[in-house]
């Protein structure tokens, strides 16, 4: 029974035009493999793997830090007093209203040229880190994610039905308990489909850090292009790597979403 269903689904998916498309795609892949230059690949493979690892690390760290920042920012806008809501809204507007590249350069070149003017910063234990590029990259990407997600979380917090919160109050939950057990989980559940898309956007923002000398997979590809004068092959491989990571993100979020009951109150 299950077998026939699988076969039926396969034949539905594998229509004649799809077979043609698959053959064309296979031909293109083979042509790329044999007609293009890939001899540089073994020499740069360790560097590329390191670059992929750096990109994924950057994505995970900034997304995790960003969402931790976004929850209070969203909550302040949805239910906070004005003296918290207004700065949070201004923060979101500024972050969403200016290009990430500009924010990154403002932090890296601006702060980077500012810090050495203070002797006590140069003497502090943080100085060895502040002289490197990655803290600025992480900071810019985190703030950007927090700005976009703060807006998403605002909508999610505001969208939780009032009855749920009243029920929590009626159960005698304290405000913090009600927030932790009722408000936050339901808001996160609402935000989850949007978060998947936003995380893919965050992945697509990571190559910008290559412009401030961080070595992610994008800058490895640029280096290959500069050193070997091979123009297209590194870029094609780069596109493939990003598509694979996107696939993993989408798959992971789908798994998380499937674990959560779908019906919203």
């Amino acid at each position: 029974m299950a077998m026939t269903r699988t076969i039926a689904r396969t034949s539905e998916w594998l229509q004649p035009h799809r077979i043609v498309l698959i053959i064309v795609a296979a031909a293109i892949v083979l042509a790329c493999a044999f007609l293009m230059r890939w001899d540089w690949l073994p020499a740069y493979l360790p560097l590329a793997l390191q670059g992929i690892w750096r990109t994924i690390w950057l994505l995970v760290v900034t997304a995790a830090l960003g969402i931790t920042l976004a929850i209070p920012i969203g909550f302040a806008q949805a239910a906070g007093p004005a003296f918290l809501a207004v700065p949070a809204r201004v923060f979101c507007t500024v972050i969403r209203g200016t290009p990430l590249l500009l924010q990154l350069w403002l932090l890296y070149y601006g702060l980077g040229s500012l810090f050495p003017q203070f002797p006590w910063i140069r003497e502090s234990f943080l100085w060895p880190y502040l002289r490197q590029a990655w803290p600025y990259g992480v900071l810019a990407l985190t703030l950007s994610y927090a700005g976009y997600e703060g807006e998403v979380m605002r909508g999610a917090f505001a969208g939780v039905p009032k009855g749920q919160l009243e029920a929590a109050r009626a159960f005698g939950m304290r405000r913090w308990t009600a927030f932790r057990r009722i408000w936050l989980p339901q808001a996160l559940r609402r935000a989850l489909p949007t978060l998947a898309g936003e995380t893919v956007l965050q992945l697509k923002a990571t190559p910008l850090v290559a412009t401030i000398t961080m070595v992610d997979i994008y800058s490895v590809a640029s280096r290959v292009r500069q050193e070997t004068f091979v123009t297209y092959e590194p870029l094609l491989l780069l596109a493939l790597v990003y598509m694979a990571i996107t696939g993993v993100i989408v798959f992971a979020f789908r798994k998380i979403e499937a674990r959560i009951p779908a019906r919203l109150g």
Binding site: H17, R96, T98, L101, L106, S113, L114, K204, Y232, M243
Partner: protein, 252 residues
């Protein structure tokens, strides 16, 4: 001991006015020209993206199975690969292809205008997103309206112009507004391939004067102003496209 404004703006008020002055020792004129270039690219790429989006949405909804799959492939790939990588790929591959085609046809290779290349590249990226936005908007139109247009014997073009586009506008405008804001900010990515738009100009100015904070702040203010002005215009459009529809204000 430096004062705070000195450190943050790397200049006193008089120095600031000098740095941002419109005439050549100051960089204000360059920044505004950069902003104009950015707005120009954003308009062009948004318009091109809208055209691609209308074709893509129609292809995905009413096209042959092959067209559907090809448009699906296009939107999936473009939305999964970073804009920066796409810009490099399309910028180099695109100009290379055009020149090879020209030499094949017996013409001399041309130097492709950076402005047009930028508009085309960002337009292709925008097209993928607007395909999805417009597809959703067309699906949101009550089916009866399109059927009625067919029953009146309207040609597909007339139907698109009179029924589909106006009827889907209120559903499409929020998504398209987002896309417009993304288009204005994506122009900054062209700085990486060396195109002289606002971000690149800012970087040059900052590098030349060493007043990094001043210039990046000034550019940020310009971008923000562009976003806020756009928001005002967009909400006008939205109100216009929603005329005659029931209000959707939430009552909480």
């Amino acid at each position: 001991m430096r004062t705070l404004t000195d450190i943050f703006l790397s200049a006193s008020a008089a120095g600031l006015a000098e740095l941002l002055a419109f005439d050549p020792p100051g960089w204000g004129g360059n920044l505004l020209r950069g902003l104009l270039a950015s707005v120009g690219i954003a308009c062009g790429s948004f318009g091109l993206g809208l055209l691609i989006g209308i074709c893509g949405a129609y292809g995905k909804l009413y096209g042959s199975p092959m067209a559907r799959d090809l448009f699906g492939l296009y939107t999936t790939i473009v939305r999964a690969v970073p804009e920066l990588v796409l810009i490099l790929l399309l910028y180099f591959a695109g100009t290379d292809l055009v020149n090879r085609l020209l030499t094949l046809l017996g013409y001399a290779p041309v130097d492709i205008n950076g402005l047009i290349a930028g508009i085309c590249v960002l337009g292709v990226v925008q097209g993928a997103y607007s395909t999805e936005v417009l597809r959703g908007a067309i699906l949101a139109i009550p089916q009866g309206q399109i059927e009625a247009a067919r029953a009146y014997g309207m040609s597909p073009i007339l139907q698109l112009r009179r029924i589909t586009l106006p009827a889907m506008a209120p559903y499409a405008i929020p998504g398209l507004a987002n896309l417009w804001l993304i288009a204005t900010k994506d122009t900054a990515l062209l700085a990486v391939v060396g195109f002289n738009e606002l971000t690149q100009t800012t970087r040059l100015a900052a590098g030349a004067t060493k007043a990094y904070f001043t210039f990046f702040f000034a550019a940020g203010v310009l971008y923000l102003a562009l976003t806020l002005v756009s928001n005002i215009i967009i909400s006008r459009f939205e109100r216009y496209s929603r005329r005659g529809m029931p209000s959707v204000m939430e009552t909480r």
